[in-house]
């Protein structure tokens, strides 16, 4: 294809990508570099049903003039990125100076919101992603061996966790694991501990969230692998059988190598998805014990004072985090691609 033709061919999608992906990203980056104007306040007398009070109020006229002059606010450079709510360079340096041991340093680090969120986000990503791939493959292999009559219903049931909206799914489970709920009560009975609560301890909350993550995402891996299984060449399998390969050896040396590109694809998608873990934290009301990068962005954007700059900085950090996380997988794909092209 000529370059010119190619250009006109992709122009519509290119324009859409610039409008809906590139420009918002640029705007987020620009916002993260600015903070609000210095507030001009004055003391006024405010009255209400409970009497009068001398209180500070923002001088709205003066603020409006400042805003009209510089709508973006004050330029703060990378200041927001390095403050306590984000990378917290000063606090990290102080923690390093004051450490009594490496463990002490990490516990000081864990006290900072971004690092706390990163700790959970990474743990979640690296526990859930491999488990999803393994469980998905296991379900796919199992379903593939079923008799045709049973396949349809089994596939439907296996897909249910993915069909249910994440927020609804997590809410239903949240009620079930409540101390009064069916799972919560059963666990109390099993462990003979009437005070056992899955919501109270950080460790149990993390485990709950990760089990939920695997439950929710396994069907996706299952569908992809199941589709891949239909393309495994029966000749190769038969040849392996004739050579005396056991069922496990067939899977290990024929099926898995065949599905490898799909596993790369699934892990790519899952790494991205899991790094942005959000709904289960809200659905399980787990903010006390677990926070992710997305949930701290959400917190910034709610409440009486909305902190766009802070949320924008965290968003940029999330994008950079996803990019770092995906680099190894992308490099691998690129190598495969080049290997094939030659």
């Amino acid at each position: 294809m000529k370059h010119r033709t190619f250009f006109w061919f992709i122009l519509p999608s290119l324009a859409a990508m610039i409008a809906f992906i590139a420009l918002p990203l640029v705007s987020v980056v620009v916002q993260s570099l600015h903070v609000e104007h210095e507030q001009i306040t004055s003391v006024t007398e405010n009255c209400g049903p409970f009497g009068c009070n001398e209180e500070v109020t923002v001088d709205s006229e003066a603020t409006a003039a400042l805003r009209a002059e510089k709508p973006l606010g004050r330029f703060n450079g990378l200041g927001t990125y390095f403050d306590r709510g984000h990378l917290a360079t000063e606090e990290v340096a102080a923690a390093w100076q004051a450490r009594s041991s490496l463990g002490d340093f990490f516990s000081r680090l864990y006290n900072l919101p971004l690092y706390k969120a990163i700790a959970f986000t990474l743990t979640y990503t690296f526990v859930v992603t491999p488990l999803v791939i393994m469980l998905g493959l296991a379900i796919a292999l199992g379903v593939n061996r079923l008799t045709p009559a049973l396949k349809g219903p089994t596939i439907f049931v296996s897909l249910l966790p993915m069909i249910v909206t994440p927020l609804i799914g997590s809410l239903i489970l949240f009620w079930m694991i409540d101390a009064q709920g069916i799972i919560g009560k059963s666990l109390q009975w099993m462990f003979d501990d009437p005070q056992l609560s899955l919501k109270a301890s950080p460790t149990l909350t993390w485990i709950t969230l990760m089990i939920y993550g695997v439950w929710h995402s396994a069907p996706f891996a299952f569908v992809v692998f199941y589709a891949g299984l239909q393309t495994v060449s029966s000749e190769t399998l038969e040849a392996a059988k004739i050579d005396g390969a056991s069922r496990w050896q067939q899977v290990r040396y024929v099926v898995i190598p065949h599905l490898m590109p799909l596993a790369v694809f699934v892990s790519l998608i899952q790494l991205m998805d899991n790094f942005r873990v959000f709904e289960p934290i809200i659905g399980f009301s787990a903010q006390a014990n677990a926070s992710s990068l997305s949930s701290i962005i959400f917190t910034d954007l709610r409440g009486d004072v909305i902190r766009f700059n802070s949320a924008a900085a965290t968003s940029v950090i999330t994008v950079i985090g996803v990019a770092i996380l995906l680099t190894p997988v992308l490099i691998r794909t690129w190598r495969d691609f080049k290997g094939k092209a030659v």
Binding site: V35, E36, H37, E38, Q39, T41, S42, T44, E45, N46, C47, G48, P49, F50, G51, N53, E55, V56, T57, V58, S60, E61, T63, A64, G73, R74, N76, T80, D83, R84, G85, E91, N111, P113, D178, A179, P194, Q195, S197, K199, A200, P202, S285, Q287, A288, N289, T299, L301, R302, G303, D304, V305, I306, R307, N309, S310
Partner: protein, 409 residues
């Protein structure tokens, strides 16, 4: 024939109500953004009576109203003509210059309003309050009698009563308050710190002043109280504490006064629980300092709308908080109106106000402190952090956000 009659009667009813429609207005659009609970629903229903003759009344009642109000009222024309706010949520609207002074509208249409209902900022009327609210003590008369303790008036007495109830085996976790991480927990901290009588900020500045022995006292009391709560306390919001109260799991609780009506209405709780539930003043912490804040709910009118819409909105909302509406919904809230007859459901808020509690501070940076406290206290309450560390974290989180918002240099 029957159907025809019904249709005719319906048409008649419609025209007869339409006779009052418009509330004397010639036209205008009313669109209200508000929180969702029974009392506000009643106000909106009252405002909708003004519909007709070119007047339209719409509303969006959502618990997420605070998160969308600034964006919705910043648009020109604004998405909503009125936002129903409380002491804390009016602040961002004033900061952003998004609501209009109501002096001329009050002079023209507000003859029936009581002077105490008018919220003035720097001499200008910015909102009209219609109900009061506060967090205060709910207790079970029968359980306290069984345990042989008097009604607690201070938090130390609450602790003693809870301990007695637990040690006698009456209840394992007799106490609850809205300690869910986030806004709810922040509110509990603000209330408890109020009980020390100390200021939140250094006088005349936006510099936070809670990292001191008063802060430690407030935190230690919160910690001691949650020892008598169910271990899930970090997920407790109003709905959760109300449900636990109605299921009879609690003997002592600090909840919003606005929940009193729905607990005492007998729906959701057994007669035994309803009959023995009493609403009392919020407990004190140090000396006579009440550990609670007083709140009002009121309506504001958006700035970026036409004068016609503003007038229509004001008249409709005044109709919504009119004497008829309040008499018909007397139980639903602690109304700020002469038509209101006090009920057992309002006893707690009235007693809290009478005991000298102060209103929630209407400061432009109070919301930042509230958010910081709500986010940084969980670890302390779970026992994995010291009170000093938790206070230092609140201070650091607040200072970071206050610098970013331009309140602190």
């Amino acid at each position: 024939m029957y159907l025809k009659k019904v249709a005719f009667a319906g048409a008649l009813a419609f025209t007869s109500s339409a006779a009052y429609a418009g509330c004397g207005l010639s036209g205008g659009n009313v669109n209200v953004l508000a929180n969702e609970f029974g009392a506000i629903q009643a106000v909106i229903d009252g405002a909708e009576e003004c519909e007709g003759d070119g007047v339209t009344v719409e509303s969006n009642l959502t618990v997420d109203h605070r998160d969308i109000q600034v964006a919705a009222l910043s648009a020109d024309p604004a998405q909503y003509t009125s936002a129903v706010v409380a002491n804390s949520s009016i602040v961002p609207l004033i900061n952003g210059d998004l609501i209009r002074p109501l002096d001329d509208l009050v002079a023209k249409h507000g003859q029936d309003l009581d002077k105490t209902q008018l919220i003035t900022v720097d001499g200008k009327i910015m909102a009209v309050a219609f109900m009061a609210n506060a967090q205060h003590l709910f207790y079970r008369k029968d359980i306290l009698e069984e345990a042989g303790v008097d009604v607690p008036t201070s938090y130390d007495e609450v602790l003693a009563a809870a301990e007695k109830i637990r040690s006698m085996g009456l209840m394992e976790d007799p106490f609850a308050m809205n300690t869910g991480t986030g806004w709810n927990l922040g509110e509990e901290f603000v209330n408890m710190y109020m009980g020390t009588g100390a200021p939140f900020f250094e006088p005349g500045t936006a510099n936070i002043a809670i990292n001191n022995e008063h802060g430690v006292a407030a935190l230690n009391m919160l910690k001691s109280l949650v020892e008598y709560s169910n271990p899930d306390f970090l997920t407790f919001d109003s709905n959760e504490t109300q449900a636990r109260w109605e299921s009879g799991d609690l003997a002592l609780a600090v909840m919003w006064g606005s929940r009193g009506g729905s607990i005492l209405d007998g729906e959701g709780a057994s007669e035994e629980i309803v009959d023995s539930t009493v609403l009392a003043a919020a407990p004190t912490l140090e000396g006579d300092n009440v550990a609670s804040t007083l709140w009002w709910d009121g309506f504001t009118i958006a700035k970026n709308i036409s004068d016609e819409d503003a007038e229509a909105t004001f008249v409709a909302m005044v109709n919504g908080i009119g004497d008829d509406v309040i008499r018909a919904n007397n139980e639903a809230a602690v109304w700020l109106s002469s038509a209101y007859e006090p009920t057992p459901a309002s006893a707690g808020v009235a007693a809290t106000a009478a005991s000298g509690a102060t209103p929630y501070p209407m400061l432009p940076y109070m919301g930042l402190l509230h958010t910081a406290a709500g986010g940084e206290l969980s670890e302390f309450l779970q026992g994995s952090e010291s009170a000093q560390q938790a206070l230092a974290d609140i201070e650091a989180a607040y200072t970071t956000s206050a610098k970013e918002q331009g309140f602190v240099k």
